[in-house]
Symmetry: C2
Subunit: 209 residues, 2 copies
């Protein structure tokens, strides 16, 4: 006897690119934030940036807040991926790796206006949002751990005396501050100068002699 296989009728679920559509929303969120600011992003501006009608958001996300959080998580993921890649491509010397990681934060694909502006918004809003604070910590905790590990190795190899955890915080927060400064006044804090400032910092802590 033939097994009564329950066949899907109508349009098969999963045939459409649900995840792709969600990604389109994420891109639209980044564009909308970059254009209007985190404070003034509305469902209307997001959907306009995506070319969708206002109501569609409800079919792919529980609501505006969930979409915003999802977008920020994507930015954090991209950041992590890109810095890992940069470190991997830099070879074995820990100081080279530090320069590579820090340099990557001022170059594509990490450093795009959209990503930086979203990140600055995240960092400055985390204080009042447990969800954003968690995203922030979940990215920075292992990131700083990796940096301090590299710092320790570089210091040991050179006989330099540093506090690895503190210097790791210094690096992450200098980058964050430079991003913030670029966002506020890109003429004064250009990406090029910002990157140079980071390399100078590493040179100061690890003098080549």
């Amino acid at each position: 006897m033939q097994e009564a296989v329950k066949r899907a009728r109508g349009r098969p679920v999963g045939s459409s690119d649900q995840e792709g559509k969600r990604q389109e929303f994420v891109v639209a969120v980044m564009r909308a934030i970059a254009e209007h600011g985190y404070k003034d992003v509305t469902v209307a501006t997001i959907c306009k940036a995506a070319g969708f009608s206002r109501g569609l958001i409800g079919h792919y996300f529980p609501g505006k807040d969930a979409l915003l959080l999802h977008a920020v998580r994507e930015v954090a993921k991209d950041f992590e991926r890109a810095t890992r890649t940069a470190a991997g491509e830099a070879g074995q010397d820990p100081l080279d790796r530090l320069h590579a990681v820090v340099g990557a934060t001022f170059r594509k694909p990490v450093f795009t206006p959209e990503r930086v502006l979203v990140w600055v918004a995240l960092a400055s809003t985390s204080h009042w949002s447990p969800e954003l604070a968690e995203i922030y910590r979940k990215l920075y905790r292992p990131y700083r751990r990796g940096l301090s590990h590299l710092i320790k190795r570089a210091a040991d190899a050179r006989g330099v005396n540093v506090n690895p955890e503190r210097l790791a915080i210094t690096l992450t927060q200098l980058v964050e501050g430079l991003w913030s400064g670029w966002a506020a006044d890109p003429k004064t804090v250009s990406a090029r100068e910002a990157e140079a400032a980071c390399h100078d910092l590493l040179d100061a802590f690890f003098p080549s002699r």
Copy 2:
């Protein structure tokens, strides 16, 4: 014939403490931002923090935006005043002055939760507000000029090779990033650690030997 002098009757204008009331609003804005976040500050929360009714704001400011800008300008003024004072009290040695100025940004009266949170909000919103961007630049331009001047003198006195403008930007943005980091995760980026990070940075660029 007696000159018909128009005498003011009733309550004389200017006898009440208008400026004092405006300052009460400023304090209330800082409290309200610290509690609810820049994005979620409303006229209602501000007036509640001040103990006034909602409608009163209209008698002392053209509107909410004007009050917010006024409050941020006050914070910027206080910042400038306090750093100048710190520099003045530090004596003549330029490196001592740099340490003092940077240290002051992590101590009262500059470093209070309210002020830091307002500043973080300002910095991260300047990109989308010409008015905020102007406040930001008007504070930072002369501030960085003063820092780079001190850096240059300290470097000349010690025969150290640095780029004064770049290091000045590094200092301001490291402080900004540390403030931002403290706001997002005060446990990891404590005021004490943040200040130590800044002193370490100066020590790295100006080694005592």
